[in-house]
């Protein structure tokens, strides 16, 4: 066994894998943000709260409907996605013509309200949620113990990310969407219902956040502030990747997970600042982000 900077290589491989797993949460969340920003031009600050709603919905579905993890993985994103659609119809649709700042303020306010309501009803300590039975335990990879649930997280997240990228970049529906952002009037002239498409896109972005929330429930503390702790990092990921770039969000999500994982080995105290250091450097060198186009 060889060593790298005094760390045994085995431990290092383990940390790389762990970083990739954490990166899958960043990727899932930043993907939703990128889709919403790319298609709606809205900076969705309530994304963290919607991720939290996903986890809480999973808990409530278990508590009141008796349905476990797998049904929740489908039902919770749909329910939270519907609330997203209501939010878009009631508030966001009036803001597209205004400055970005208005959308940001509105969604930030919504996030505070959602968190406050959750804290009022459930307290801040959190709610219990366990790993589904079929994914308990783990396997020894030789260089680390990989819990089955984490393996599932990485697989599911990759599938969803690549699927979303494919739909938006490679299918006809995606082409309509992209065209509608470029020139909505022209696309409408072809007989496509642009407002409905935009509404559904926001609903989908929100559902992605809720999906990540359900994925997180068994391993992270399900508490009202779980989203606000994560969302700042996720915003940094989106900025580094390039605002609105879907591929950028996915690649930087996984990449920064790895960078953060390595920081936790070499200099753990800096592990929650390293992403912002990278963000500052990227903004200095490439202001549009790694995958962004200069607009």
């Amino acid at each position: 066994m060889f060593e790298i900077f005094g760390i045994p290589s085995q431990a290092l491989f383990g940390q790389l894998l762990i970083g990739l797993i954490n990166g899958s949460f960043y990727a899932l969340l930043s993907l939703g943000l990128a889709v919403i920003f790319g298609m709606l031009n809205i900076i969705n600050f309530s994304h963290g709260a919607q991720y939290m709603m996903g986890a809480f919905a999973a808990y409530l579905i278990l508590q009141y409907a008796g349905l476990g993890y797998w049904p929740a993985l489908i039902i919770a994103p749909i329910l939270v996605g519907i609330t997203g659609i209501i939010i878009e119809r009631a508030f966001l649709q009036w803001l597209y013509k205004l400055d970005h700042l208005y959308g940001l303020l509105l969604t930030f306010g919504l996030a505070l309200i959602l968190e406050g309501v959750a804290r009022n009803y459930f307290g801040s300590a959190g709610l219990p949620y366990t790993v589904p039975e079929s994914l308990q335990g783990g396997r020894n990879l030789g260089f680390m113990f990989l819990p089955n649930y984490r393996a599932w997280v990485i697989a599911a997240s990759l599938t969803v990310c690549i699927g979303t990228w494919f739909v938006i970049e490679r299918t006809r529906l995606g082409a309509y969407l992209r065209a509608a952002t470029e020139n909505p009037t022209l696309v409408r002239a072809f007989g496509i219902n642009v407002p409905r498409m935009i509404t559904l896109t926001y609903g989908f972005g929100v559902a992605l956040a809720a999906f990540a929330g359900v994925m997180a429930a068994p391993i992270y503390n399900v508490s009202p502030q779980m989203g606000s702790e994560l969302i700042i990092v996720v915003f940094a990921v989106v900025v580094i990747g390039g605002m609105g770039s879907i591929l950028g969000a996915i690649v930087t999500g996984f990449g920064l997970g790895v960078v953060e994982g390595l920081t936790k080995v070499f200099f753990p105290e800096a592990s929650n600042t390293v992403i912002f250091v990278i963000m500052a450097i990227v903004l200095l060198v490439r202001p549009a982000g790694l995958f962004g186009r200069r607009g």
Binding site: I18, G19, S124
Partner: protein
């Protein structure tokens, strides 16, 4: 007309003043984390506990009038200091209580000392508050890192857990808890193999847990609190730390944390507390009143809430006996001179360093099958008597002790 009215009011005020010559006015501020990770161990529950204490005391002593205000320090020492300064200077607050988060508590303790007011710590843990950073205006009520370290640390070493690896929250509290536990472990013949310091409010502990796993230490000591502890324990279960033969020692685990983990995940965990809501009928009755005073029905009071209640009672007792409007140092001296006696902690004392001394209890979290009703969390393993539960003031390094 206005003049007569004014005179009448003045006369009325003077008359009242004369009639209540013994009137004692007290203003208490509950400074806590109202909205973030420590809001369930202190927060609104502490305000409810303070209301109970005031109601109980003023019922027997109607000549004591107590005003209560509360504030949110957001876990930031600068915000906490700003509120404390404003309360003492502008709002004429006599005493601040609670303050979970040792970083904020150390700052507030300094301010109370400079302005010669009173500070009763219930929420914060750092034993430095009655150690090198002690002062004549601060009383540390409920628990501290030395007590947690010696309670849980000793118990683990005695049952064979003699090599330790720490996951430490990277701020004043975590450092103090790690230092005190390491000292307790080494004193009992154990050894510390390593440690890793993580930022406050970390989401993912898997990297740190892997490091703990590869250290081969028998015990993984969690020198953190709240959401950090919950995440560590939840993920340790996932990574098979306990199944692999290592033990988890939650050095600071509250009833609210056990509630958040669920007994399924938390079972078997050893922890030390000074008060447990389900320990006896007095505590259960108090909990019922605590819920009625505005605390959410789904929550269970922690030892911090009990400490806020008991601390206020003892403070008011001192104020009543002294009368008038004495300065902070005099009140704290009086509090130290008077033995404490309250329904929740029983009889106790406050030592020269400002450390409140009472019994501590070593608990083990029940298995789901053993739990009879919601909140039925613990089995009592041992009672640590007050004299052993807390640090001997002579060893505290507190300048007040030798003078």
């Amino acid at each position: 007309m206005r003049k007569t009215l004014g005179l009448a009011v003045l006369a009325a005020v003077l008359a009242c003043g004369a009639a209540n010559a013994q009137q004692i006015n007290v203003k208490i501020g509950v400074l806590s984390d109202m909205s973030s990770l420590y809001a369930d161990i202190g927060g609104p529950g502490s305000v409810a506990a303070a209301k109970l204490a005031i109601a109980d005391f003023t019922k027997d002593h109607p000549n004591v009038k107590v005003d209560l205000i509360s504030g949110d320090h957001q876990n930031k020492p600068d915000i906490g200091s700003q509120i404390a300064n404003q309360w003492f200077d502008v709002d004429k607050v006599d005493m601040i209580i609670d303050v979970p988060n040792s970083g904020v508590a150390l700052a507030v303790s300094q301010i109370a000392n400079n302005k010669n007011k009173v500070f009763i710590v219930s929420g914060a843990a750092a034993s430095d508050l009655t150690g090198p950073k002690c002062n004549a205006n601060t009383v540390h009520w409920t628990y501290d890192t030395w007590m947690l370290a010696n309670g849980t640390g000793n118990a683990m070493v005695k049952t064979g857990g003699d090599t330790w690896f720490f996951l430490t929250a990277d701020y004043a509290f975590g450092h103090a808890l790690e230092r005190d536990t390491a000292a307790a472990v080494e004193k009992a013949g154990g050894k510390v193999l390593g440690k890793v310091r993580h930022p406050l409010n970390t989401n993912d502990f898997s990297s740190f847990l892997l490091q703990a796993q590869s250290s081969k230490a028998k015990v993984v000591g969690l020198a953190n609190a709240g959401g950090d502890t919950i995440n560590s324990i939840k993920q340790a279960a996932e990574f098979g730390i306990v199944k692999g033969g290592q033990k988890m020692a939650g050095l600071l685990v509250f009833a609210s944390d056990v509630n958040a983990l669920g007994l399924n995940t938390a079972q078997g965990l050893t922890l030390t507390e000074t008060w447990y809501w389900d320990a006896n009928d007095t505590n259960r009755a108090w909990t019922k009143r605590w819920h009625e005073a505005g605390a959410a029905a789904s929550k269970f009071p922690t030892m911090i809430h009990a400490g806020v209640y008991a601390g206020i009672l003892h403070y008011l007792k001192a104020r009543l006996e002294m009368g008038g409007d004495p300065d902070g140092k005099a009140v704290v001296a009086k509090m130290k001179a008077t033995p404490t006696d309250d329904p929740l902690f029983g009889k106790g004392t406050i030592d020269a360093a400002g450390r409140k001394r009472h019994d501590a209890f070593l608990f083990e979290v029940k298995k789901p099958a053993e739990s009879k009703h919601p909140g039925d969390f613990y089995n009592l393993k041992a009672t640590i008597p007050a004299k052993d539960a807390f640090r001997d003031p002579k060893d505290s390094g507190c300048p007040l002790v030798n003078s």
